[in-house]
Symmetry: C2
Amino acid sequence: MPDSIPPKKPFADRLKDIEPFRVVEVLTRAKQLEQEGRDIVHMEAGEPDFDTASPIVEAAQAALARGDTHYTQAAGIPALREAISRHYKKDYGLDIGPERIMVTSGASGALLLIAGLLINPGDSMLMADPGYPCNRHFLRLVEGRGQLIPVGPEDRYQLTAPVAEDNWEPSTVGIMVASPANPTGEILSKQELRDLYHLCERKGGHLVVDEIYHGLTYGDDAPSILEITDQVFVMNSFSKYFGMTGWRLGWLVAPEAAVAEMEKLAQNIFISTSTMAQHAALAAFEPAARKILDGRRDEFAERRDYLLPELRRLGFDIPNVPAGALYLYAGIKKFSNDSQRFCMDMLEQHGIAITPGLDFGHHKNNEYVRFAYTTSMERLKEAVRRMDSVLVN
Amino acid sequence: MPDSIPPKKPFADRLKDIEPFRVVEVLTRAKQLEQEGRDIVHMEAGEPDFDTASPIVEAAQAALARGDTHYTQAAGIPALREAISRHYKKDYGLDIGPERIMVTSGASGALLLIAGLLINPGDSMLMADPGYPCNRHFLRLVEGRGQLIPVGPEDRYQLTAPVAEDNWEPSTVGIMVASPANPTGEILSKQELRDLYHLCERKGGHLVVDEIYHGLTYGDDAPSILEITDQVFVMNSFSKYFGMTGWRLGWLVAPEAAVAEMEKLAQNIFISTSTMAQHAALAAFEPAARKILDGRRDEFAERRDYLLPELRRLGFDIPNVPAGALYLYAGIKKFSNDSQRFCMDMLEQHGIAITPGLDFGHHKNNEYVRFAYTTSMERLKEAVRRMDSVLVN
């Protein structure tokens, strides 16, 4: 009998192309070491170290006390869509109607809706390498593909219109960029965004812009693509500037013609997003929360301003001053040609947890590591002290 | 110049196959009517009418006060995976290790992971028609397809092994069933589950069982497929028996070999699920919450026991006594051959909001409507009073 039973159908092919986060290995090992009594400086996580600001937490508690525990509309509660609309008016001077805004389960939820809407099997989107790795995996999930375009310090690690045009293939249906970017912290100028938009327009392609690190810039503000066009898909998040990672809340702005289709997808895939998170987020735009959040942004700026020159002094290669986000993407050529190994050594030998370049794409990924300044100034100084004693000696 | 610009790439083909929820139209119109002063009896929503039980809410508030606002592990906090494992021991007498359990963003999140794991383009899964419509749309999202198999009262609206075998095609990679089912409330017996499992084993296919209405049965308990095999994918949810719809929390149980792959997918697609919802759910298994939840289950039983004979008396066709869930799937042949129209008339003329069969598939979908007994006994009686005056006169 046994040989008449066919083998179980294997798992889908896409699983072979979807990579795990290497940083999880770092995190897991870091926790192990801590349990053994080691002192670890955590610079691996792409998450603000601050707990969610108290006015936001209090709004959630009030919502819970009111019994706001039921499903909401798939596109989000009207009050939050309106609050986001007002945010665009107040912070950007832009008129973005609430009907173009959808509340999503983190920017991850927005990415899934965008991939589901735009990608037929075999379609591809251009994106910078290094970049946020999940972008290409969302496309792969729906049988599309990320075209990873190598970028370097000469373009501030951003995908520019001329490079995108050179790489446009018959399968290309658009461009996906992030500003500020993960892992590099670099932003796209208004002119660069405009050029990308015009390229997409000429090619009949779609432009998707990840603006989840907006608000976390430490010099010039990052311009929004929405200043240039309404024919664009924008992802945003309450996780980074707004400090609401564990709440899983984000939003997207879409061209008006796309919203009904995306709402249909959202009904089916998500039903709705967390009700208490949505009510909490209403408080995130109020002055009491903004004051706290702006103070935290200033703290991130101080950390960047401390860490950047110190890493350079230690021999890390960081040619530009990254404009924002929470990261320094640092060349390690002087020390190693194996970023995974370098990160594990830093952790095992010196108790410093950082993320290998491998997590962010394929281009020169062994030559870089990412430092997240998501720990206190004091701990950053401790990390620098430790590196001082091993790297330059 | 304008004629040199190609038209924008159209949206993906899958959008044509993904249908909106018709019930949303009912809901929207119902709210409109209420704003105009009409009194509407709500029997359309697949959501318990009770607010989340206070011990669960209090656990969330405590977590928030502690600052539990950060990302968690993609598969869920260990404490919750362990609590779910204990739940299987206590309520089912089963040993399901926490390493086989993943916490997800509602059962919706579990469905997406399962579809992503099992479906290559062109693959199909067998499922009952009528059934939960999103199942087939999740498959379509990743370029698979639901094979909707007509089922009727003779099989208690469930897909049985002989029927599944007759419909097995070269593209079929498995079977997806729900017990208790939406919209019919019917359960699969242990023997029926065993037969489905053996069919899948013989065919090398995968078995996926939706158990989200477990705990909401009003006679015999619904058996779990996990009593029969560990080579199965089970979806469950905190939304229904546990009454946590707006929190967006569920779980899945998978074969051990599948968990690492699904965790990789979850890292990329979700990062993690709501932290406060996970901490809240810990309280859902404790005696204080269970006592409240069991009391609510008894209330649902009373409502079913009232509504079923009344609907039959009014002329609706409900041949079997549905064992669980929150629904009565009722034939309307005596009144209409257009379920959408029938529902709209019931709403407009009599202020009764119910869901058309159209929402649950294609098979005889114009001959049925779904009554959800998710409103108080008093309101159910009001609905019956109104129907009495129009349907049998």
